[in-house]
Symmetry: D2
Subunit: 346 residues, 4 copies
């Protein structure tokens, strides 16, 4: 029987994905916020740390040791990598469904995961049953999942941009390029020097060119779409905006195709993927605060190079919003519930 | 009989207050967007100009000459100063209620208005019947008003910050100072050099120190609260943020008072004014995208100088949000309808 | 005989390249600022418009009709495209050397120029004698030039990044990609809506994907380096910073090469091109206010895709600084004179 | 005998005032950078941490324990508060002159200092001999000083703005207000959450209203100018720019005065204080990267309230530039040496 209200637990509520979950769930008609944990801030009202939530969230942070997460219907992990994998088994055993916003369950090949994340996986046996939570690809599996691995922000923007091309098999999948730009909130709410205002402001740089953790996640996803291994060059950049990812994707067309039509048809039933008219240039602010992905497709000078521009809000469609979308699917709510958010512009 | 849905017209939909009205009204359960005018953009879908509205607003701009505004229940003017005064008489005569987001009806003394706005008023006889749309002061009159003069952004932040002190008569009203800082969207969506990104970015300056148009509006309001003319020094500044006003207010206490308690009691029933705990420093982002005003009160070193910190989003509580709040009051809807917006942070 | 001081004229001193020329020339020991023209601002002291120059520049703007530019040794055009071509012939005939910071003389094929710039060229016969002012390629010709076509900002960053690879013939020149990001000052000091702070701030987008005017300029340059026509996909983006260009360049290696060594050797004698150690990620702020180009080279996962990261300050090495560098070469001054500028960080 | 080159040591070269000292001293004709210490970065080339210095600074950081600071002519402390006081005695005894950019020697009353800085002073006996390094007030004493206490950033902007009024005795010194706004670099290069880009960006707030450490420093200075204790309300704010302080000062005129003329006469001989024409609004960017203070004076509506607008670059005139200015005075160099910096605009 479908419940009208489900009990929600959030582990790690002091980061940006945590506060964004709170923003969305506070107004979700089927969500009952039950528990938010934080080791460091136990006892403190959440709205003392985030005054934006005053009047909307009355909870205080709970010490993880005291939190009765097993009484929840679903638990979100908005924690650093490596935390969810330590607690997920017990929750699943207790019948609690889990959505991990970190990377613990995204990579199917545990050796690859361990190499990129630099730690031993605590529960490799669960990885197989985790469903990768990109609804535009895995909607049916998500509905049945006990454990959802919520995609990374870059992977969401890049995969949605390449998906129609790879599924249609019309591009050279061995030579894909994703030149991606992220706002600074993507680095999290961590006290680190390189993301200070006076460091990241009025500044632009690439990072992780030698190898970024989202590379294997994206490659795995693109490979599944394509039906064979892909060759991908992925270059992330840090750009002085707070929210937003802009992925500029390059693929060589191997078969003459009306790419505009291909994308429009592929996404026509998707509420959260918006294919813009031919010739458009999506702006990150056109999705600010919303769960939307907007995509435009170009063929410069009419050649065989396809350039896809894909934008999302890294904290919404790239994290908390997609997690709520997954929750809606898992619990049989209308997929857009709580996510009818008009972007904030300007 | 209270209507469930009212027909809405917006004159001037291409500026920031216009697009903000659209953002709010698109999700308002009692609003039926009927008509949005623009001379320059007639025929163009609104969402072509503002892709953030794709999926939420289907209307195209209408030429003002063709617009059947008289069929609306309420018309919002989101126009430059001097436009509303030319069309309001005819709309009122047709039984349409009007909310002017510009300054045409804010100043009761027409000579003062004409001096500061540099034009002759087109319908001075209507000014007296216009109600100044600050609900926290004029709620009852707004409910009955045919014509509401929606307050300016600075005037909203400054008046809400001084109100409890002046009504209680506990400060020297002859020596008030309002040092106010505004985000750049407050200057409107106009092609002017001084508000370019490369001019206003990474830059801070005062402006209009010799005299800003919001000065007479604020002085009029403070005088009404105080029961006598006030002396006010008002210094506005341009700060490199998109949305937000921060007013830092200085008043000398003339009667020993628990100012924290005074403010808490004054605003305890107000949904959109939030008095923070003693010692707080409200941030503009804590109200970003919302209709909230947050206020903190200080007495540095325990002296008799009261420092009030008051923040709003200039486009919401300082413009479109307050206009919707007024609409709700005028048409008997719950005052918070369509305005339960959790601020976007970060 | 080499002059110790040369007389300088600047046509169009009210834009960003104009004020940047003034910043640099005001402290140049061999420059005597003689004349700065502006139609709109004639008679106004330059430092009234740009208070940053108070104490350094005493000139007032001169009406172009009154300006005695023929008395100058060199005239810089810091004007929109299409102005320099109307005045250059007369200046050259009078023995004045000309440096055009706009695009009038950059493209050798006049038909290509007329197509991309949408106007008829006023003096196509001069184009052949103009020297393309990229000193790292054309130093000797610049020294003898009467007319220098100062390169565009994107073309400078992109060409310096591809140069060693193309000259060495080690990459597939038919499939080059330049994904470039520019600060907003690159759009000039024009009253246009899309570059307002509240539009371009906290926002990121691509533009001109279908075709940008810098594409033929870059293609021409890369073709000369390569010895044959190149295939280039060029995607520019607008990023919320004031100054700075970051070009991310992709080329497929066709011959195994130590690319780090190739770049270091190529640029070892160049004062204004700095090849960073292997593994680096140059930041735009590391060149802010300076004439430096900093470059890093990567081969992600050791594959055959070479990723070059190239940063410049678009107003210095991408415009005014390079123009002064050209002037130094043309007049026999030490090439670094007036350009020993330590970048402003943070 | 005046040396042509002096040996410079810098203690604490990894913060913003440290790198700014390096920027300025790298091009100072009389400075020989000899030693830069850092405990954490010993052995690392300075330009690895700050690539902006590549080509200008060749030194590596030295471990403080190994640094031969006594061989220097002058040592700058660009350290947190409480460090300089532990090493200054030994340096002075060795004949080394010291300029402390932190607060250790700014407050003459040691009890006041200990209260505000929360530690016991390590060498209270030296405080009396320290000269407060505001050249516009103490030039003669600075020339002879062995130990200079370089002023704080807010204190510099506020004191220069009030100085002519207080020395002339024309305002009510018991009711002064300083509403000051600072860029985020003023908080230092520290890994702290509240100054992250995603926290401080697109945000504005007051802080330290109850009491900021610069209050006693400013009060002490204003009292000396005024000849009696002053009453000051000081409210600092954090604004989303990297560099720059804007102080808006309020004082009630007690004696009718031509304040514009007063300021112009007071500062006519000062190279680094620029009084703007009547009616001006100085911008922080008009001093970006320079040692300039620009001031404008207003009397809104011709009343007796004087509003002074004072802007500086907090890292230059508010820290490293003023320190170099002091060094120039101490060693008999032209006061402007190395400080003829045209501000970077835009």
């Amino acid at each position: 029987m479908k419940k009208n209200k489900i009990k929600i637990g959030i582990v790690g509520g002091t980061g940006y994905t945590g506060v964004e979950l709170l923003r969305l769930l506070a107004r979700h008609p089927n969500a009952e916020l039950t528990c938010i944990t934080s080791r460091g801030e136990a006892g403190q009202p959440v709205s003392d740390m985030f005054p934006s939530l005053r009047g909307y969230v009355d909870l205080a942070f709970t010490d993880p040791a005291q939190a009765d997460l097993k009484a929840c219907d679903v638990v979100f992990f908005a924690t650093p990598n490596g935390i969810a994998m330590q607690q997920t088994r017990a929750l699943l055993d207790a019948g609690v469904r889990v959505i991990d916003l970190a990377a613990d369950f995204r990579i199917k090949d545990v050796a690859v995961w361990e190499k990129w994340y630099g730690m031993t996986h605590a529960c490799p046996e669960i990885i197989a049953e985790a469903v990768y939570g990109l609804p535009e690809i895995n909607r049916a599996e998500i509905a049945l999942a006990q454990l959802v691995a919520n995609p990374g922000c870059y992977p969401t923007a890049v995969q949605l941009g390449f998906l129609p091309l790879l599924q249609a098999g019309v591009v050279d999948e061995a030579n894909l390029i994703a030149d991606a730009k992220s706002g600074v909130s993507g680095a999290g709410r961590k006290a680190e020097t390189h993301i200070l205002f006076a460091e990241a402001g009025d500044n632009f740089k690439a990072y992780g060119v030698a190898g970024h953790r989202h590379l294997p996640e994206i490659s795995q996803g693109l490979g599944l779409m394509s039906g064979k291994a892909v060759g991908l060059t992925f270059v992330p950049h840090l750009t002085p905006l707070i929210r937003g990812i802009h992925a500029t994707l390059y693929a060589r067309l191997t078969k003459e195709t009306d790419v505009q039509k291909l994308f429009e048809q592929h996404y026509q039933a998707e509420r959260f993927v918006d294919v813009l008219p031919s010739g458009s240039h999506p702006e990150t602010r056109s999705v600010r605060g919303s769960n939307q992905c907007r995509i435009a497709i170009h063929r410069p000078q009419g050649g065989d190079m396809v350039v896809v521009l894909s934008v999302i809000d890294n904290l919404v469609k790239g994290a908390a919003g997609q997690a709520v979308q997954n929750m809606n699917i898992m619990f049989g709510f209308e997929e857009t519930t709580g996510l009818e958010l008009v972007p904030l512009l300007p």
